[in-house]
């Protein structure tokens, strides 16, 4: 058992040092986080869904606990085996180090350094275990006698106290898990536990045992200090991410484009708080812009890495653009228009030098999302940009802070990666982005569509003139006409309000002479090329819904 204890304490120390180093340098290099993320990636979708269903929001803590449990078993096993066979120490440390390092390197935005914390931690754990086993060595002659002695010496009262402190410790860790307890309390609890270990050592009276336990307590204490440091650094860094967003002063746009013209109705620009959000992030990534960088690589002549400051030093453009989600049903809410501030992508790509045949830009987010965009849509003159500001403020955290991509005319899943960290030039033949892997179409041009916002479905307007109003959109083409039909009758032209460009929705209104009784109202739009929107019903999967938005009202 002493070998197992040595293994656990040594592994705890090694992991804590690795976490401390990762926290201080690159948080994504944390071995435990990296292994957890790699496990998630390697888990087949049905099992993931099973986990989400059965464990709900506990799926992540359960995953991390499982990773911890495997670590504990490996560490204890290495220690136990290492007492007899010292090669096991090197083998165990190598396995753990290699697992952490390869997991860290497998992350989408990994750099070679990310292997270092795991390797350093494993080395420290191995050396520490070697030393502990050496301290424990004289007792190897009669291990069973020692534990028998220990058992007889231990008083029942002390035993229960130990159990209690172990239980308290468990609770302390549970508190930290929920992020409710400050780090100091946690450290105190653990120092207390370390003290319990050394106090307990004294009455035993076995010199070797005491030497060993003192050494173990020393290492455990070191682990607590290192881990406390890691938690503290993470806390400070996390706080600074939120603070630095508030502190950011975005430069003015060098090119402000056409503003929202007078004469648009209320709601033309969607407030940041009302803007729809569709993504897979379980928790909103919090990225410190000071440590953020964007890597442009793949089929390029000059690989580039840009800091947030580098981006802001480039000439910025401001554009009013409508963005919508491919998963929106006919008449659905996942569409919005904002004033976006960003860096045009085309000049950046020109500097990187796109190699022939690179027809796809794969954008990667901090949380591993991949979004594939046709290279042509970044180069054909449209305002494809790397967005840093939304409606006059830094990009909100949930909309991709510090930088997201935006491609006018494409659904978000095909052109608007949030929490952007990487742009890789590749081909559609070589790489399927996240949603494409799940059956959605590789390219996602926006389909012409329209929506009735007033009156609401099932409304009871009074007979007489009733204003029917809504929006219609066909980004990159623009809207030429919107028509309204009552009860399946003739199509009547609606009035179109002004727009800043073809990349936004258009607001429309039509005055209906309503007569008493139940009625249905339908809308259809025609884009500026003269093509009416598709009336045939299609589901959002795999490339956007079609059909004419039709609502029922009863005129009183």
């Amino acid at each position: 058992m002493r070998g197992s204890l040595a293994g656990l304490v040594a592994a705890g120390f090694g992991v804590a040092v690795a976490e401390l180093l990762a926290a201080a340098t690159r948080p994504e290099a944390s071995p435990l986080v990296a292994v957890g993320a790699a496990v998630i990636d390697a888990t087949p979708t049905p099992i993931k869904e099973f986990a989400v269903r059965e464990l709900g929001t506990h799926d992540k803590p359960v995953l991390l606990a499982s990773v911890g449990l495997v670590l504990i078993l490996l560490a204890a096993g290495t220690g136990a085996l290492g007492r007899r066979h010292r090669w096991a120490v090197a083998a165990g440390a190598s396995v753990l180090g290699a697992a952490g390092a390869s997991a860290a390197l497998s992350r989408p935005a990994a750099i070679p350094f990310d292997a270092v914390p795991s390797l350093l931690g494993a080395t420290i754990a191995g050396v520490t275990l070697w030393w502990l086993l050496h301290r424990a060595a004289p007792a190897t002659a009669a291990p069973s006698t020692v534990s028998a002695d220990a058992q007889s010496v231990a008083t029942p009262g002390m035993g229960s106290a130990d159990v209690q402190s172990a239980a308290t410790l468990g609770m302390a860790s549970a508190d930290v898990q929920s992020a409710a307890t400050p780090g100091e309390v946690d450290s105190d609890a653990r120092s207390g536990a370390a003290a319990a270990v050394s106090e307990e050592a004294r009455p035993v009276g076995d010199f070797d045992r005491r030497r060993f336990l003192q050494a173990a307590a020393l290492v455990a204490g070191g682990a607590v200090v290192a881990e406390g440091g890691a938690v503290g650094i993470r806390r400070i860094r996390g706080g600074s991410a939120a603070r630095s967003r508030a502190d950011i002063r975005l430069p003015a746009a060098a090119d402000v484009g056409r503003p929202v013209p007078p004469g648009t109705g209320p709601g033309f620009v969607t407030g940041n708080g009302d803007f729809y959000r569709v993504d897979t992030a379980l928790t909103v990534p919090r990225i410190d812009p000071d440590s953020w960088s964007l890597r442009i690589h793949g089929m390029v002549g000059n690989e580039m890495r840009l800091s947030f400051e580098d981006l802001l030093r480039r000439p910025l453009v401001e554009r009013v653009i409508t963005l919508n989600c491919v998963s929106n049903e006919v008449g659905g809410p996942y569409i919005g228009t904002a004033k976006w501030l960003g860096v045009p992508l085309a000049p950046l790509l020109a500097e990187a030098g796109i190699k022939a045949g690179a027809d796809q830009i794969v954008a990667r987010s901090a949380e591993g999302m991949t979004i594939g965009t046709p290279t042509a849509t970044a180069l054909d003159g449209r305002d494809t940009m790397l967005v840093v500001g939304m409606n006059g403020e830094p990009l909100p955290l949930e909309h991709g802070f510090p930088v997201r991509m935006l491609t006018p005319g494409l659904y978000g899943y095909a052109g608007a990666c949030k929490w952007l960290t990487e742009l890789e030039l590749t081909t559609f033949a070589k790489f399927d982005a996240y949603w494409v892997e799940r059956g959605w179409s590789a390219e996602g041009p926006v389909k012409t569509a329209s929506r009735i916002d007033k009156p609401r479905p099932f409304a009871h307007p009074a007979a007489g003139p009733v204003t029917v109003a809504g929006v219609a959109w066909a980004q990159r083409r623009g809207i030429r006409a919107v028509e309204v039909s009552v009860d399946g009758g003739d199509w009547n032209r609606a009035e179109l309000l002004p727009v800043p460009s073809i990349d936004t929705w258009v607001q429309w209104r039509y005055t209906w002479k309503a007569t008493t009784g139940p009625h249905s109202l339908a809308v259809r739009a025609t884009d500026a090329t003269g093509t009416p929107q598709t009336a045939t019903r299609a589901t959002p999967f795999p490339n956007g819904a079609t059909g004419l938005h039709t609502i029922a009202v009863t005129v009183a």
Binding site: M1, G12, T45, D59, S173, S327, A552
Partner: protein, 212 residues
């Protein structure tokens, strides 16, 4: 024995370290955690659904598919608006046919915050076939019947008992409590508090008829 306790203690130390190392991601991590991309359907991240409001009840819920990748499962239904949700559920196919017939798909999907009493296929089967056919062919009557099954606002189980004005105009009366409710004295709620993106659904075993 003693060594076992020490080992447990050491294990607890190592364990708590391993947990705290990743435990602060919901508030303080600087983007280091990889979120688990667990969804195959593209759904909004709104998460209004706490564990409580998600709790469905009733014996009829057992007939709902449990595989979350199934369009008829509670998980899938929660991510799409109500008419789309119903169309994924094989228990509600007659209702969906009626909703399409009445041209109410978009109205139900784009209404905000409603409660729908959704009769099962078995409920429609209680209506004599000839009568059902006649109703399906009469859009005005059909619309009146269907809108009588819809109440403005999302009613929680706690708010369910009582009289509620329907979109048809008439009042629907729910009696009962806990997990045992009757609608207009005749229809039983067999699976209640089913969440969709824009509606709370109570699946019932008889079709409701407006009083006027």
């Amino acid at each position: 024995m003693r060594a076992t306790k020490l080992t447990a203690l050491a294990a607890a130390v190592a364990f708590s370290i391993s947990l705290t190392a990743c435990g602060s991601d919901d508030s303080t991590d600087s983007g280091s955690t990889a979120a688990a991309p667990t969804t195959t359907t593209m759904a909004p991240t709104m998460a209004p659904s706490s564990a409580d409001s998600m709790a469905t009840f009733g014996a009829g819920c057992a007939a709902v598919p449990t595989d979350p990748s199934d369009k008829g499962s509670f998980q899938a239904m929660a991510q799409v608006p109500v008419a789309t949700a119903a169309s994924g559920n094989p228990l509600l196919s007659t209702l969906v046919t009626a909703v399409k017939q009445a041209g109410l798909v978009d109205s139900l999907n784009s209404a905000s915050d409603i409660t729908v009493f959704a009769p099962t296929n078995d409920a429609f089967a209680k209506i004599p076939a000839a009568d059902l056919k006649k109703v399906l062919a009469d859009k005005k009557t059909l619309t009146s019947i269907l809108t009588y099954h819809v109440v403005q606002g999302k009613l929680t189980p706690a708010e369910l008992a009582g009289s509620h004005k329907t979109l048809q105009g008439g009042e629907v009366t729910v009696s009962g409590s806990g997990e045992d409710f009757k609608v207009d004295g005749a229809a039983s709620v067999i699976c209640g508090n089913v969440q969709t993106a824009n509606a709370t659904v109570y699946i019932i075993d008889s079709v409701l008829m407006p009083k006027s």
